[in-house]
């Protein structure tokens, strides 16, 4: 089967996943923390991983799928090497966040939620990190860049290969 977990992940990754499942499965309400740890480990939560969690933790697969697709922090697609998050919270929006988003979309040829073909950047929209004093901001791999001007974007992104 092409969806078999072993086609996507190494034995080490799978046994680490099993450890996460075992550590959480008996605690009520632990599905979300379990998925958070899983994503931290594997980078994304495709169907084959959801199936394994379902079997091992005895949670219905539709419930897992429902949670994964509900929360924006979970992804079913593999991420690129670097993650760009453009803040489009209100403060960043009124300070020019939209123009920044348009430039990145044009330069990289991606839309929100997509990755560049070379696997370099995943591009996401974010809703306020609470660093409004620095608006407009973008995050690359979690690092905050504040007061971003349109002509400074190339310089920021060139640091990430």
């Amino acid at each position: 089967m092409i969806h078999t977990i072993t086609n996507f992940f190494t034995d080490e990754q799978i046994s680490a996943l099993d450890e996460i499942i075992d550590a959480h499965k008996d605690k009520p309400g632990s599905l979300i923390p379990m998925l958070e740890k899983t994503q931290e480990l594997l980078g994304y939560i495709p169907e084959c991983v959801q199936e394994r969690i379902s079997e091992k933790a005895d949670i219905a697969p539709n419930k897992i799928y429902g949670v994964v697709t509900f929360y924006s922090f979970f992804s079913m697609k593999q991420k690129a090497r670097h993650r760009i998050q453009v803040c489009l919270g209100t403060a960043c929006y009124v300070k020019g966040g939209k123009e920044i988003a348009e430039k990145i979309e044009k330069d990289l040829g991606v839309k929100f939620g997509e990755s560049t073909e070379d696997g370099r950047f995943t591009y996401e929209k974010a809703r306020c990190f609470g660093a409004c004093g620095l608006a407009p901001i973008i995050l690359v791999d979690g690092k905050v860049y504040g007061k971003v001007a349109l002509d400074s974007i190339d310089g920021i992104l060139s640091q990430y290969e």
Binding site: L31, V67, C128, G130, L134, I137, Y145
Partner: protein
């Protein structure tokens, strides 16, 4: 082993004499909230520590604090020499930090050019009383503005944020030294549930998450439920874009929230609590977890707190990125590990909340007020505010304004005071158009009403809401239709999809707004918007859905001409 009450009080005395406010030592405060760190505060801290080490300079204490309030001037550091007024420096970078170290810290010579102000926010009250003087602190350079002359700080009233800029959030002793955990000790040793609830009711505090429901009443309902499993929750899922008050409190003074939860738990009879914090706030989550571990080690959380026989513990629950989880029933579903879909009320959470048990959910800011209400009394608390709303409110002011930051003012303060005095007015070359309060559930207050007092009732009368405290200043280069579109786009994307008004109604409104904005609008689109908005208000399942049309209604109310103009182009 936990501590005894006598030991906690011993720490308090020791800290006052030797700790954060040790006036015999050279103190360098580095203000490190998320904003400060993003502006380079970590590197400034490393530089200062290296300078101290390289120069073998003994006797200087470096204290890392949370946010100092005025984000637009980050990174900020404060240098305090014995016998002298502290000096706060703005826009500090590594080079400036080196210069400040050698000139001011070592040489005793203030660098006027980099200085922002003299004095500390925690001294504000005393300075105001004594004509800007603090006993034992000499004024070295009076050409630097004194903190009580800087409107951003002078007009504020610090209660929730009374420790900001001074204490290290990771040091529980600092908090204890500032009357920390005295409220908890008071309720655990000498008050029963009814007495606690009475004080909170008399104080008149209303929920700071936005709805303004009396906190004491919420507690009373949960306390009346039969004994058994009950939960005390803290809503730290600050999702309104442009709002960061709660982040600032959590990063600067996490113990105030923990102490508030202990008091609330005692009042309602809960023994387990959760803080639901959004995952976009990694520093707040880390700070909270450290604070909880420390509180446990001191015996302030866990079994038999301080030997009083009361058990209560707290866990941090990290959200996974869904705005709707700020709604109380959705938040509880999320802690249960499910999709964060709201459910109809009743039953209210006080009766059947988390895992169908009686549950109280309070906002971060509400809880941070509680320790002082208990410690200083309801009369003290109700001494400021309006007739119907007591105490202070924290706002985060952002947008096209000069001083971006977190501000705390008595409820009822004029909007113009916040925008023009504290905020320093709009940025050069632009004109004030409106202040948007309450995020996607809120509305605008235009220039014509800029003098209105900011309280729950007045704002509602003018078509806005108090909300959780996000205040975005918009200038006249932004179109009202565009602002409405921004919020409606937010609501469509963040709708959980459960009820039709929330899922489809918001989408239809957005379609009409897009149509108007792109010049294809028709005359009857405006009444259609109003009709749709009123249907959503009446029929949506949860508060987020019910209020989703507010930004449209409020911009229509004050900037109808802009809608009409856009539509008339096509007719």
């Amino acid at each position: 082993m936990g501590k005894t009450i006598a030991e906690i009080n011993g720490i308090k005395d020791k800290v006052i004499n030797q700790g954060v406010e040790d006036k015999k030592a050279i103190r360098i405060y580095v203000h490190m909230g998320t904003c400060g760190i993003a502006s380079g505060a970590t590197s400034v801290l490393t530089t200062l520590r290296k300078e101290i080490k390289d120069n073998k300079f003994k006797g200087a204490k470096v204290i890392t604090t949370g946010c100092a309030g005025i984000c637009s001037k980050e990174p900020l550091i404060t240098v305090a020499l014995p016998g002298q007024e502290p000096i706060m420096y703005e826009y500090v970078d590594d080079e400036k930090a080196k210069e400040i170290f050698s000139s001011h810290v070592v040489g005793g010579k203030i660098i006027r050019e980099y200085a922002f102000l003299r004095g500390m926010e925690t001294q504000l009250e005393e300075r105001k009383k004594n004509n800007g003087k603090i006993e034992g602190e000499a004024v070295v350079d009076s050409s630097i503005p004194a903190i009580e002359e800087v409107p951003f700080f002078a007009v504020q009233e610090q209660r929730v944020m009374k420790n900001r800029g001074l204490i290290d959030p990771n040091n529980i002793d600092h908090y204890i030294g500032r009357d920390g955990y005295q409220g908890a000790i008071k309720v655990l040793t000498s008050m029963d549930s009814a007495e606690i609830i009475k004080v909170v009711l008399d104080a008149g505090i209303r929920g700071r998450g936005g709805a303004g429901f009396p906190t004491g009443l919420k507690w009373k309902f949960a306390a009346q439920e039969p004994d058994g499993m009950k939960y005390m929750l803290c809503n730290a899922d600050e999702g309104d874009p442009g709002a960061f008050m709660d982040r600032s409190v959590l990063e600067s003074d996490p113990h105030s929230v923990i102490e508030g939860m202990i008091i609330a738990a005692k009042a309602i009879g809960a023994h387990m609590g959760y803080i639901y914090c959004r995952a976009e706030y990694p520093l707040a989550v880390e700070t909270l977890n450290k604070a909880i571990r420390k509180a446990r080690a001191y015996g302030l959380l866990g079994d038999d707190i301080l030997g009083t026989g009361f058990d209560f513990d707290i866990e941090v629950y990290e959200g996974a990125g869904a705005f709707v989880c700020g709604e109380e029933t959705a938040l509880m579903r999320s802690i249960e590990g499910l999709r964060g879909n709201p459910r109809p009320k009743p039953p209210f959470p006080a009766h059947a909340g988390l895992w169908e048990k009686p549950t109280v959910l309070n906002n971060v800011e509400t809880l941070a007020n509680i320790p002082q209400i208990i410690y200083k009394g309801s009369e003290w608390y109700a001494g400021i505010g309006t007739e119907k709303s007591k105490g202070t409110k924290v706002f985060s002011i952002t947008g096209d304004i000069n001083n971006v930051g977190c501000v705390e003012v008595p409820i009822g303060t004029a909007l113009s005071t916040i925008v023009n005095d504290i905020g320093g007015g709009v940025v050069e070359g632009k004109r004030f158009k409106a202040a948007q309060l309450g995020g996607p559930s809120g509305g605008c207050i235009p220039l014509a009403h800029i003098d209105v007092p900011v309280d729950y009732e007045t704002l509602q009368e003018y078509g806005s809401i108090m909300g959780s405290g996000g205040m975005i200043v918009i200038t006249d280069d932004k179109s009202a239709v565009d602002i409405a579109k921004f919020f409606m786009e937010f609501c469509t994307e963040e709708s959980c999809g459960k009820c039709i008004p929330g899922r489809e109604g918001t989408k239809q409104i957005l379609n009409i707004l897009n149509k108007i904005d792109s010049g294809r609008g028709e005359a009857n689109d405006i009444p259609r918007l109003e009709e749709l908005a009123s249907v959503i208000q009446k029929t949506a399942l949860c508060a987020l859905g019910k209020t989703a049309a507010n930004p449209v209604l409020s911009t229509l109310r004050y900037f109808r001409n802009e809608y009409e103009e856009a539509v008339s182009k096509n007719n």
